[in-house]
Symmetry: C2
Amino acid sequence: MKFSPLLTQLIESLRCLPGVGPKSAQRMAFHLLERNRQGATDLADSLSKAVNEIGHCQQCRTFTEQAVCDICSSPKRQASGLLCVVETPADIVAVEQSGQYSGRYFVLMGHLSPLDGIGPDDIGLDQLESTFAAGGIEEVILATNPTVEGEATAHYIADMAKSFEIRASRIAHGVPVGGELESIDGSTLAHSFAGRRELE
Amino acid sequence: MKFSPLLTQLIESLRCLPGVGPKSAQRMAFHLLERNRQGATDLADSLSKAVNEIGHCQQCRTFTEQAVCDICSSPKRQASGLLCVVETPADIVAVEQSGQYSGRYFVLMGHLSPLDGIGPDDIGLDQLESTFAAGGIEEVILATNPTVEGEATAHYIADMAKSFEIRASRIAHGVPVGGELESIDGSTLAHSFAGRRELE
């Protein structure tokens, strides 16, 4: 069965979305054409506006259409002296939702991965070094993912921070709150035991 | 956590896709901005082209950007004397994939549903009547869904066909090929017994 050329093109294009295979793409295309043409028009507008206007914040490299994002331009956050390093803009959302952090961020947009040819400059570490050099940072909190690459990236940045006499800390790894001990993997439990704290 | 206005708008717009909730929309937006801006641009183009140019086939009402779709303009299908009535364009795909049918189609784009205010004219039955009146159809195959509304619609169209002395048939309902009897619901099994055929 061949669809009309434009319909085929729409179904193909929808497959660029993560998690959307041929069947879902077909269902989405029919749904939009049958029931929500206005939604499709709005989506087309939002996509082209986003692609054309959203760039990276000059300071923290997160996504924003302004030169400097809202978090970086907040004087309160500037004054905190804290800088949290994360891998992606989505990680900022996760940290912000915890409500426990009120400092600035730096988004690597990836992690060190020499095998894939991703070196320090590709994840903006030259820019991070200038930020360190500019002063005003007391502690850098390394919130990269607990993967091999994330750990390596964290250690690399910790070394950088030391050379500027900035304290570097790594977020704790352990048993998630609400998790059950029996369903936790050994590596996480090992971290959990190594990072134990005395009860007062 | 508030995103920048354009990013918020993009995430909201992505939620018009079926099966996409707030979390998936966020993941899609970040994926497109981080890794596939070209894909996002192509998707925006395809969406606006599709919305502006794809309409309904003048004969069978399926989606096409031409006046008459490929199936309806095929002389071989025209000559078959068969017309298959389905509820949605996606149903045409399903029937075509079976490879067993080589006639024309008529797409209702819905089914009769008096409670929702959907009457015969809303699903194009006036147009179907003109098709019947134009002649050239020997049999109409009713392939609406086996729901209450689909059955009612099938019976309504069968009555219409009779008044033009056109044979009307309903696709068989029964145990799906490869299905296991113990996992089939009673109503399907009842259809399956009622529609049994003698072995030759």
